[in-house]
């Protein structure tokens, strides 16, 4: 029961439950937004997330090139929805960071969009995505992303915003993508430094999204696993 005594979900409980749906516990969320009992509009959580291990990344940028290739049909790191930041003169482990869209439970990019261009795609596991037809190139979502670098990407060639859709819509790859399919970056990474999960990561800080994917093989190869 919420504080006013009416049956409903508080925002926190809603998010918890919708997270359970992502875990496969049976709560089917077939809508993009819900008006909560406390008058807060909430949205269902994504049913898929990319997790990365920056300590395992070799900096080859294959993920970026695959992303650009399958979405745009071109090679251009600037159009990739996942980015690898490299510091050539820094030492391990401060030399490389993979930065990916977090499919936030509370996506500020979505909230910032006044034109409903950025929406929850219920047909593709609630991934947060952008309808290019509705995008007005206002760049509000690009600015609203609280992470650096921003994960909503400005496509200056098409003059519209775009963001990670977990490969739900890859016109240049004949593979089913999205939360129930394959993701180009996960598929191509030679180090397996990117993985996919249906579990809602911890939203506070980076620990939910930045994980340790270095296992026995990594140790066998002589690399650190801590």
């Amino acid at each position: 029961m919420s504080e006013n005594g009416k049956k409903g979900f508080s925002r926190r409980v809603f998010l918890k439950l919708s997270g359970a749906a992502a875990l496969g516990l049976g709560l089917d969320i077939g809508f993009a937004r819900i008006l909560l009992a406390d008058d807060v509009v909430a949205i269902p959580v994504s049913q898929g997330y990319l997790l990365v291990d920056s300590k395992k990344c070799a900096g080859c940028m294959s993920c970026m090139l695959a992303c650009s290739l399958v979405h745009e049909g071109k090679e251009n790191p600037s159009l990739a929805r996942i980015q690898v930041l490299k510091e050539p003169f820094e030492s391990y482990p401060d030399d490389i960071s993979i930065v990916q869209c977090r499919q936030c439970v509370n996506p500020l990019c979505l909230e910032s969009c006044e034109y409903d261009a950025l929406y929850v795609d219920t047909r593709n596991g609630n991934v947060r995505t952008i309808d290019p037809e509705k995008c007005t190139a206002c760049m509000a979502c690009v600015e609203a992303c609280p992470f650096t670098p921003g994960r909503a990407v400005w496509n200056f060639e098409k003059e519209r915003a775009q963001k990670c859709d977990l490969c739900a819509n890859t016109p240049y790859w004949n593979e089913k993508g999205g939360p129930r399919g394959k993701q180009a970056c996960v598929s191509v990474c030679p180090m397996e430094a990117i993985t996919f999960t249906t579990t809602v990561p911890v939203q506070e800080g980076d620990s939910g999204y930045l994980v340790n994917l270095r296992g026995a093989t990594w140790k066998e190869l002589g690399y650190p696993t801590d």
């Binding site: 300590k55 395992k56 990344c57 070799a58 900096g59 080859c60 940028m61 294959s62 090139l65 695959a66 650009s68 290739l69 399958v70 745009e72 049909g73 071109k74 090679e75 251009n76 790191p77 600037s78 159009l79 980015q83 930041l85 490299k86 510091e87 050539p88 003169f89 030492s91 391990y92 482990p93 030399d95 490389i96 650096t148 670098p149 921003g150 400005w154 200056f156 060639e157 003059e159 240049y172 790859w173 004949n174 593979e175 180009a184 598929s187 191509v188 030679p190 180090m191 397996e192 296992g215 093989t217 990594w218 066998e220 190869l221 002589g222 690399y223 650190p224």
Partner: protein, 690 residues
């Protein structure tokens, strides 16, 4: 023009004119080396000039695959021009380097850069997409390569940290990137005109062979910076993506499927293959753009991005001194990358100096006076002193900056030290690599060319894998016969199993002539023009693949055609390689090349091979004797001078060259559409007869 940007940037440092060349004019050559040679041939009228001559033209070329998802090819950049390192002639030569420069150049809208003339004052070239400027480099002159790059990044972006999107240019469209400018630069060694100076990009990507650092120094060119935001158009994106996944699934190392097959393998080796780990030092693999293998290493304490000889040149001395590799090796590697000195030459120089010191010829107050601290050999202190003297031309560096061959000449030691092998310069003044007495295709290819060829295609399955197994007391997982069959299947158009017969007879055979021809043609097109990395291609034997059959020759055209939309066959690529090899041959002939010059240093013919390679690995190779294939230790062999001369005749004949001179005949050149090259040779009275 899928895969190409359509424009080659042309910069005249003397006139400061910036113009473009239409890539279409040279597209027939594929990319990289082929285009570079063709442009050099057209622009340099007198090809017999010194590398220091202001008329020297340096080309820096990409390929249609640069900046794409194609594995182990996307990051390579080819550099050409008249070099400084070779002796006695400064041949038209090549080098290349990895990293992300090639891709960035393509994203900026350029297939390559042509550098002409000499600037009055130090300059660097600032490329931001299609905007190109020459910038005063006086504030950068004297800085090491790392500091230079940091200064340029700051100048281009206005930032001191790079964690966010950066706008490229001032277009209202808002072009942006998170990637720093890719910078190719020289260090103090290049500024001081060293013949063994490198071009350096990022931390450890070096174009080392050829002495291009000194060439840039002579042109007063400190650096080229490029930042790009444009797209490369791909003919069939799905085919490219699927090809990449096919290569990963069937031919690559992957976490969880490590093979126990000992030996070094081309396409499939474990990450950091080229960079030995330092006990107790944490690290990660490091890869060039779009590489699946990531052969380098980044550590918590240095040695970053350095691999192979960039590490090996000092880690053996370090290990001898300390019983294990220490951070001295890592610091030494970073030092040569910062100063911009060719590690491969330095390795041989250190061995030579050590020997002369041991003999009492070199040292404080000796015949060759030097204050180098030989008691500190293996410590960072020794290499620091040597490199500092080299880069500043102080002390022994006043001579050594000219390279070992010219130093030996000045010291009056050239003939005797090359006769004894104390100074192991085997071809054109370059240090021997894999030995011309044992792994002959490497030496033969080098002496027929312009430099240490440094192409590991046959080396991995025919030498390294069996030799590493022999060293470990293990049986090689694949028989010599199977290797010969696989290579025969893959080496179109010859398809001859005896091509890898390294027996005492086989090394002088017509089969070995085919090996060398295949190797020359393959590398000239597929590796140096399209850019497939030497450490991954050709992939003959692959422990992950069905029947151990590697990814060559399926992969090379598969990736290229997915990008370009052309239907080039592997064999057509080989034919283009033959054409490029002939064009290069013509340039060398115009520089004075004759078959009489194509001889190895005397030690090759007079001293038995030491029984192992530089790194003390035995020389076990594939041989076919008495009708049977086997692995055999061929160390200790001497190359027979007259038999090698007979072999040269076989090779020249196979190539359609005049065996008297080693010069191509008109018919050969005409068959490849090189009539204009034949005319040029004819006008210099250097066209082969026949």
């Amino acid at each position: 023009m899928n895969g190409y940007t359509g424009s080659i940037l042309r910069v005249n440092l003397k006139t400061r004119k910036i113009s473009t060349i239409d890539t279409k004019k040279y597209e027939m050559w594929g990319g990289g080396h082929g285009i570079g040679s063709a442009i050099f041939f057209d622009l340099v009228k007198d090809k017999a000039i010194s590398g220091y001559d202001s008329g020297n033209v340096v080309t820096i070329m990409t390929s249609p695959l640069s900046g794409t998802l194609a594995p182990a090819v996307s990051g390579r950049t080819e550099v050409q021009g008249v070099g400084l390192q070779s002796y006695p002639v400064e041949w038209f030569t090549r080098s290349n380097f990895g990293g992300r420069f090639a891709g960035m150049l393509k994203y900026a809208g350029w297939d390559g850069i042509v550098i002409e003339g000499k600037s009055k004052n130090p300059v660097w070239i600032d490329i931001r997409d299609r905007e190109v400027k020459l910038v005063d480099a006086k504030p950068l002159w004297g800085l090491d390569t790392w500091e230079t790059q940091k200064k340029i990044w700051h100048r281009v972006t206005g930032l001191k940290s790079y964690k966010d999107w950066m706008e490229v240019g001032k277009s209202p469209r808002g072009e942006r990137t998170t990637l720093k400018p890719a910078v190719l630069t020289i260090g103090p060694a290049g500024e001081n005109l060293s013949r063994i100076a490198s071009l350096i990009h990022d931390a450890g990507n070096a174009a080392g062979q050829g002495g291009f650092g000194g060439v840039w120094g002579s042109k007063n060119l400190k650096a080229i910076s490029v930042i790009g935001s444009g797209s490369i158009h791909i003919s069939d994106p799905n085919a490219l993506m699927e090809a990449r996944l096919w290569a990963k699934k069937s031919y690559s190392w992957q976490p969880g499927n490590l093979t126990d097959k000992l030996g070094s393998h081309a396409f499939s080796s474990n990450p950091s293959q080229g960079s030995p780990s330092t006990p107790g030092v944490k690290s990660r693999p490091s890869g060039c753009m779009a590489c699946h293998k990531c052969c380098r290493r980044k550590t918590e304490l240095g040695g970053n991005e350095s691999s192979c000889v960039d590490m090996f040149f000092y880690c053996f001395e370090d290990a001898k001194k300390h019983g294990k590799q220490t951070t001295a090796s890592l610091k030494a590697s970073d030092l040569i990358q910062k100063t911009g000195i060719n590690a491969f030459e330095l390795e041989t120089v250190i061995i030579w100096l050590k020997t002369l010191h041991k003999k009492g010829i070199l040292g404080p107050g000796k015949e060759i006076d030097t204050d180098l601290p030989f008691d500190k050999m293996g410590e960072y202190e020794f290499v620091e002193k040597l490199v500092t003297q080299l880069e500043t031309r102080q002390g022994i560096g006043a001579d050594l900056h000219n390279g070992a061959a010219r130093t030996a000449k000045k010291w009056g030691r050239f003939e005797k030290d090359l006769k004894s092998g104390v100074l192991a310069l085997q071809y054109w003044g370059y240090p021997k690599h894999y030995d011309a007495r044992t792994e002959v295709e490497w030496g033969y290819g080098s002496i027929l060319g312009d430099r240490d060829c440094n192409e590991h295609d046959f080396m991995m399955p025919c030498y390294y894998s069996p030799s590493m197994n022999a060293l470990a007391g293990m049986e090689t997982y694949i028989s010599a016969k199977e290797v010969s069959q696989i290579i025969a299947e893959k080496c179109k158009p010859y398809n001859d199993p005896l091509m890898i017969d390294y027996s005492d007879e086989g090394i002088y055979s017509e089969h070995m002539a085919k090996t060398v021809a295949w190797h020359r043609h393959y590398t000239r097109f597929w590796k140096q023009s399209i850019g497939y990395c030497d450490w991954c291609y050709a992939d003959f034997v692959n422990p992950y693949a069905p029947g151990y059959r590697g990814i060559t020759p399926e992969a090379e055209p598969k990736f290229l055609n997915a990008v370009t939309g052309k239907n080039l066959t592997f064999e057509q690529g080989m034919e283009l390689g033959r054409k490029i090899w002939n064009l290069d041959r013509a340039i060398w002939i115009l520089q004075g090349r004759h078959r009489d010059q194509e001889v190895f240093a005397d030690f090759t013919y007079e001293k038995p091979q030491e029984g192992h390679a530089t790194y003390e690995i035995p020389y076990v190779m594939t041989v076919h004797e008495k009708g049977k294939w086997k692995y055999k230790d061929v160390g200790g062999r001497i190359l027979d001078r007259s038999k090698f001369e007979e072999w040269k005749t076989k090779y020249y004949t196979l190539e359609g060259w005049d065996p008297e001179s080693g010069w191509p005949v008109r018919k050969t050149l005409k068959s490849m559409g090189l009539d204009y090259v034949a005319d040029e040779l004819h006008s210099h009275k250097k066209l082969g007869r026949g």
